[in-house]
Every structure is written in C-alpha cells, then in structure tokens.
C-alpha cells in the first residue's frame, strides 16, 4: 500500500478514508459498511498474525471495528487514518491474546547467528535453504514453525516482522504506525529475521546430523 493510497482508500473508490470517517461520525451506516468492506481483510490478517487462530482473529476483527465506531469521534483528522486504525487493531489483538494466555518470550539475543572470535561465521547450523522452496510439505511445516518462532519474540520485534515480511507493508508505514524511527525499524526487523532464521536452522540441524553432514567454521 503506498503512502498516497492510505489517504485515498485502497480500492479506487471515490470516497477517501477521511470522507468515510466524517460520514461515520455523522451516523452514516453506509459509510461504516464501506469502511468495513475496505479494511476487514487487512485487520483480519493482522489479527491472525497476533493470535494464530481463525476464530480469535474473526472476533478480534469484530471488536476492532466496534472500537473504531465507538472511538471515531476522538480521531484527529490531521493524522493518517490507517495508522491510527492499525494501532487500534493491534491493541485489540494483543488484548485478546493476553486474555487467552501468557505468551512465552525469549530474549532477542538468545537465538542469533554465532561467530568465532575473529568474526567468522560458525557454519555448523544453517538449514538447507532449498527445502523451503522445493518441497511443498516441508515448506508448510517450515512456515508453521516460523510462526511459532515469531510468536516467541518480544512484541516490539513480532510486530515489525509480521507487518514487513508477512503483510509486506512499506517500512515508512510501519514506522509511522508503531511510532518509531526508520533506523529503529530496520534494527528490529533485521534482528527478528535473524532470530527466525536461526531458529529454523536449529530445527533443521538434527536432520543434517542424521544425514552425517557436519562442518565447523
């Protein structure tokens, strides 16, 4: 989604997000229906990323639009609507996740690539990258495990990797939604990617060992 489209809407319709906001404030139900039509899929996808469950994601989507409707009077029209709304959706999903369970977290430092003292990669533990693209069943399994590894990250890292690499949102938009600098976004995203890559490498290591492969850097 481009910066421009955020304010103009995503489906080419004449009414911008701001037009819809104003109409909803005025009690226009048709505008509410149009807003839901415009954003329900993205809110669902975001919620699914946090909750990893279709039923919870659906309920969180409902609650997000209910919150939107109830709080829309407070929306500052000088701000970008979607950035505000995305934060509402994120908070809703995390609120539901907290009620559901206390999620286990690991330190972002815990699973990063390893280097020798002179700065060379320790090469024993990376996965066969071709598995991810050549074998459909393995790709599905890897994706499921990757989702688990995202879930174990601290929230600051989960949000950026989900928005950037799963939702494929532009960096500037993510930074605005989360209220962080582009530099902070890059740092968090790279660390999160390294974490997931490393965790995927760790689960592939037994298979490599079983095959008799081994190397030390």
């Amino acid at each position: 989604m481009s910066e421009k489209s955020v304010d103009q809407g995503h489906d080419g319709r004449d009414l911008s997000d701001l037009d819809l906001v104003r109409r909803i404030k005025a009690g226009d139900e048709e505008a509410l229906a149009q807003m839901i039509e415009r954003y329900h899929a993205r809110v669902y996808s975001l919620s699914y990323g946090v909750l990893r469950n279709a039923e919870d994601a659906e309920e969180s989507t409902q609650d997000t639009f209910l919150t939107l409707y109830r709080k829309i009077e407070k929306f500052d029209e000088s701000k970008k609507f979607f950035s505000w709304f995305y934060r509402v959706a994120l908070n809703q999903a995390y609120s539901r996740a907290r009620r559901r369970k206390a999620s286990a977290k690991v330190s972002i430092q815990e699973h990063l690539p390893r280097f020798s003292e002179d700065g060379h990669l320790v090469s024993v533990d990376w996965p066969d990258a071709s598995v991810a693209v050549e074998d459909e069943a393995s790709a599905r399994e890897l994706a499921a495990r990757a989702a688990e590894f995202i879930e174990e990250l601290p929230r600051a890292y989960r949000d950026v990797i989900w928005m950037a690499d799963v939702e494929e949102m532009p960096a500037a938009e993510i930074a605005e939604i989360l209220g962080i600098s582009i530099a902070a976004l890059k740092s968090r995203l790279h660390r999160a990617r390294l974490h997931v890559r490393q965790r995927l490498a760790e689960i592939s290591r037994p298979a490599l060992s079983a095959a008799g492969a081994g190397a030390a850097g």
Binding site: K186, R193, V196, A216
Partner: protein, 97 residues
C-alpha cells in the same frame, strides 16, 4: 570442517575474505544489502566478501529462504461472510447502548 556424508569430498566452507568480517556483514550490513539501500561502494565491498566467503553465501541463501517462508504465512483466505458479520455485530452492539 570434519567430514561430509558418505565420504564425499567436503564442501569448501572457509571464509577467505579479508576486508569486511562475516560478523559485520551479517549483523550490520545485510539488511541494507537486501533492501537495496546500501551505498554502491559498500555494496561492492560486500559482494567481494561474498565471492571469497562460501559461509556467508550460504547464510544469505538461508536468510532469503526465511523471507520466502515468512511471506507464505499470510492468511490466504478471509472468511467470505466476515464483512457482513462485522457490520451486523457493530450495529447490534451499538443499538444496545
């Protein structure tokens, strides 16, 4: 490097790069390299490292494979009735107030 499976010749996995370290490449430079936001001189330096460093080439492959795996996580199917369900839900809840 000790051995590989079934006595085959072991792959060459040592780093022979002399300028940029593997650690700097992986921890500091890789993001901008992959995003295409790296200055040209630094990009060339990184590419020279990759030419001399099979471990970093393999690391880069796995980093990219991780990206492909993550993109596959996006839910492909949104419930077809969701928009209508949400609208009815909001209307019903607000009518109660």
């Amino acid at each position: 490097m000790k051995k590989t499976k079934k006595g085959a010749a072991p792959p060459e996995i040592h780093c022979h790069a002399e300028e940029l370290s593997c650690k700097s490449l992986v921890m500091e430079a890789l993001y901008d390299f992959e995003e295409g936001t790296m200055p040209e001189t630094e990009r060339r330096e990184l590419e020279r490292h990759l030419e001399a460093c099979p471990p970093c080439v393999r690391f880069l492959d796995s980093y990219r494979a991780t990206g492909r795996t993550l993109r596959a996580l996006k839910p492909r199917e949104v419930p077809s009735t969701l928009a209508r369900t949400v609208f009815e839900f909001v209307k019903a809840r607000c009518a109660k107030k």
